[in-house]
C-alpha cells in the first residue's frame, strides 16, 4: 500500500469559492484529499478559526498544504496551524493557480520540496 499523499486545505471567505475550487482540483487530483473550509460557521462571508481547525482535524494525512484567499484567512489559518500537531505548510501564493498546481503535482507523486519550488513563482502576497 502506498503511503498517504499530503492533503490540500482550501480556505476562502466564501464557502462556494472554497468548495468550487475543491471541485476544480478534484478533476486532476482524484487521489489527493482536498478539504475546503470556506465562510463562517453560520455560512456567512468570512473565515473562522473553529471551522478551519475542524477541517484540519478531518485530514487523515499528517502533511497538509494550505491555500487561502485574503489576509484574514491567513491569520485564522496560522492560529489553527499553531494549535495542531499536523505538519501544515501555508502558501502566500495565488489561490486558484497555486492550489491547482499543487494538486496536479501531488497526484503524480511529486515531492513537496519540488512543489514548493514551482509554487514560489506564484507568490503574490
Amino acid at each position: 500500500m502506498m503511503a498517504n499523499k499530503p492533503g490540500i486545505l482550501l480556505v476562502s471567505h466564501v464557502s462556494d469559492i472554497a468548495d468550487g475550487l475543491a471541485t476544480l482540483l478534484g478533476q486532476v487530483a482524484g487521489d489527493v484529499t482536498i478539504i475546503a473550509a470556506g465562510g463562517t460557521e453560520d455560512g456567512e462571508v468570512g473565515t473562522s478559526f473553529d471551522k478551519i481547525s475542524a477541517a484540519v482535524e478531518k485530514f487523515e494525512e499528517d502533511t497538509i498544504l494550505a491555500f487561502y484567499d485574503l489576509g484574514s484567512a491567513k491569520m485564522n489559518l496560522e492560529m489553527a496551524i499553531e494549535t495542531t500537531d499536523k505538519n501544515i505548510t501555508l502558501y502566500d501564493t495565488a489561490f486558484i493557480e497555486s492550489a491547482y498546481t499543487a494538486a496536479s503535482l501531488l497526484q503524480v507523486d511529486v515531492p513537496v520540496e519540488d512543489i514548493d519550488k514551482q509554487l514560489a513563482e506564484l507568490k503574490v502576497k
Partner: protein, 198 residues
C-alpha cells in the same frame, strides 16, 4: 490597578461599548473594508459576556486567556485573530508574574497583534491606536485625548495593510475601524480603573 476584578470590569464595559457601537463600527468598515467589523465584534462581545458570567477567575492569566480564546473563536474575520492574539499574548505575559505593570501587559498585547498581522505603525490599522497608547501608559501620561487623537490620525493615513489596502489612496480620509474599536478598548480600560497612572 491591574487585577482580576478591574480587568473583569474592563471587559464588561468593553463588551457593552462594542454592542452599543456595532452599527457605527460596521459603517466605518463599509467605507474601506468589508463592512462586518461591528457585527463581528458584537458577536464576540455577546460570547464574552456569557463566558465571564459562567466563570470565576482567580488568576489574571486565566481570565485574559479565556477572553483571547472567545475572541479568536467568536469574532472571526481579521479582528478575531488580532484581538485574540493580543489577549493570548497578554495572558502569557501575566502568567507567573504578579508584579507585571500595565505598560508591559499592553506591550505584550501589541506584540501579539503585530506578530499576527505583520503591521507596523502608520499602515492605518489598530496598531496605530495601540502604539501611542502603550507609549503613553509607559510614560504615565494616558488620557482620553491621547486615545481619541490616535484614532483621528488614522484618517489621513493611506492603508497599506488589511482589507483597506486594496483601495490604495482611496482609503485616505476615512477613520480606521480597527483603530476605532481599539479606542473603545482603551477608553473602557480607563473607565474600569485598570490604569491608575502607576
Amino acid at each position: 490597578m491591574l487585577s482580576v476584578e478591574t480587568v473583569t470590569k474592563w471587559m464588561e464595559l468593553f463588551g457593552e461599548q462594542l454592542t452599543e457601537n456595532k452599527t457605527y463600527l460596521s459603517e466605518l468598515d463599509t467605507a474601506i473594508g468589508d463592512g462586518d467589523h461591528g457585527n463581528n465584534l458584537a458577536r464576540g462581545a455577546a460570547a464574552l459576556k456569557e463566558k465571564l458570567g459562567a466563570n470565576e477567575y482567580e488568576a489574571l492569566t486565566d481570565l485574559l486567556k479565556d477572553v483571547g480564546m472567545v475572541f479568536v473563536s467568536k469574532i472571526g474575520g481579521a479582528s478575531g485573530p488580532l484581538y485574540g492574539s493580543a489577549f493570548i499574548s497578554m495572558a502569557k505575559a501575566s502568567k507567573d508574574n504578579d508584579s507585571l505593570e500595565l505598560a508591559d501587559l499592553l506591550a505584550a498585547g501589541l506584540d501579539g497583534i503585530q506578530k499576527r498581522g505583520k503591521a507596523e505603525a502608520g499602515e492605518k490599522t489598530m496598531v496605530d491606536e495601540w502604539v501611542p497608547v502603550v507609549e503613553a501608559v509607559k510614560n504615565n501620561s494616558l488620557t482620553t485625548e491621547t486615545i481619541e487623537e490616535a484614532v483621528e490620525k488614522t484618517k489621513d493615513m493611506k492603508a497599506t495593510k488589511g482589507r483597506a489596502s486594496y483601495l490604495g489612496d482611496r482609503s485616505i480620509g476615512h477613520l480606521d475601524p480597527g483603530a476605532m474599536s481599539s479606542s473603545l478598548l482603551f477608553k473602557t480600560m480607563l473607565e474600569a480603573g485598570v490604569y491608575d497612572g502607576k
